[in-house]
Amino acid sequence: MAILDLEHNAVVIRIVYDGPARAGKTTSVRALGRSLLRVVDTPEEVAGRTLFFDWMEYTGGLFEGHQIRCQIVSVPGQPDLGARRRALLATADVVVFVADTSDRPSVARSVEHVREMQEIIRASDDLPVGVIVQANKRDLPGAVPRDEIRAALGDDFARTALTESVAESGVGIRETFVFAVRLALDRIRELMERGELPRGRPAVDSAEQLLAALDDVPVQMPSQLGAAEDLASVVLAAAEPPPRLPDSRVVPSGGIWPPVEGRIVLHEASSTGLIARRIPDGDWLAGMGTVWRAHSSAATVFDQFDGARQALVVWARAHAAHAELLSPSRCVVVAEAAPGIWRLWQIVKLTPPLRAWIVNAVEPDGADELFARLVEAAALLGDAHAQYAGTRLQPTLDTVGRGPRGAQFVALMPGPFSEPAPRSPDVVAQVRRELSQLIASELSAQRADLARAAGQAGAQRSPWTEVVATAVSAW
């Protein structure tokens, strides 16, 4: 899919992370995101399994005077989603094959998978696509020796680069990525020499556009996925045509809240070219890969404008009642989804939640800064629990951010007709649990440094310092 985008003076390449389920593709891409200080978008994930892809963009380096814009994509590893995997592999300029090398059976499974991958990329283009085998999970005690991996890969891969990694802690991830860029550039050089490098804007230039493209790819019904029902609803939903999104030019009078600022918010959001897609619970969501989220619940569809308008009033009251707690740049709008069908949409400009703010501190600020952020996040979460008492707002690391006056709710607002989610009475335990999970999933490599930072935070200890210190040691 490489393309020369002369408008932006960039050569656009796609690096696809492939590999069997649970080999560490998503973990690798997320570790790379932390290293490059970039955000990874994962459109759909069920029980820690990628259903579509992970997406990240990075512009860096130069090639023949053009910037190198990398689209970094990982494929779903489950066999049932093979069609999506093939569709993504067919667009690769280079493949980083993440192999699980923690034991011999895993290596055997990875070898089977890598051969399958080779067949796919051979079939899709006459110009060879570079492949790097990234031997992952090298820190595990039973990890298979490098020579044995080479032998298992066989003669077909004798000249394929083999790198080693521990994706959880980020070891080997950036080197592999830079190596992959080099291989992709070799391919581009060849395409240029042949006069075959296309020019123009990439057909797919965002996670949202890729998602829209993949929605048309059929998948088999799941057989091995734990949360099969969720996947089934994703698959079946693809058949329903997407509703028209709200347009600031045709929103009827009284169809938007807040009346003036709402139109500005809607104008800004719709100018980014939002694409709606169905999500597992039957709702529609738009804005993947942008700073906007537009959401329309399956429960807010009406056959008359008046009905939608009445619902808008209720939603507007709920927003107004919580205005002090919410992040800015929001609106609720009624839009004609199809002739005679009205939908209520909630549109929010995203601001980073506490989780992103903490994770982005991993590099380059070090453990002390990271620990300080964890403590501040714990305090903000504690405040949010107190402020949101009696509301439907659920304070979590993904819904609360840092506002000018402390904690602010940064996520989509729960519907005014929804049941309030049960809330744990023990706020401290709840905050500690969330932080422990975050440390285990995203900050495991920093745990030792965090423990040291916790020990050194003696002079300015607050009750939340203790909570974070316990969360660090509990994991």
Partner: protein
């Protein structure tokens, strides 16, 4: 090639030996991508600087080929009004790019500190 974490730690060591250290990166010549970096100044766009300096290294190699020079490029020293920039080849495929404040240091100190720690980057 050392891991990213080792590269950052090695640059911390180099930074401690160079007064006026601003930023440094280990850069892939071919792509201009950084393999690891350390910056003390938030306004110094090290990724962009590394990318453009990789072009300079490639151009220098091109010049050497044009002149049929049968030797290797070791380093490139650049003196700006208020900064010193050093490009030190670590291997045929990677180089260190380092920027330091000219008022606080000099080329000799920068060069000695980088050469002394060069093995950490191979």
């Amino acid at each position: 090639m050392p891991a990213e974490k080792q590269i950052v730690e090695s640059f911390e060591k180099v930074a401690a030996e160079i007064p006026g250290f601003i930023a440094a990166a280990l850069v892939d010549v071919e792509s201009g991508m950084t393999l690891g970096m350390k910056s003390l100044r938030a306004d110094f766009d090290l990724a962009a600087a590394s990318a453009y300096n990789s072009e300079m290294v490639k151009q220098k190699h091109k010049i050497m080929r044009a002149l049929s020079l049968k030797t290797t490029l070791e380093d490139m020293l650049i003196t700006l009004g208020d900064q010193i920039h050093l490009i030190k080849m670590v291997s045929p495929t990677t180089f260190i790019y380092l920027a330091a404040d000219r008022a606080s240091t000099n080329l000799a100190i920068v060069r000695v500190a980088v050469n002394k720690n060069l093995a950490l980057f191979t």
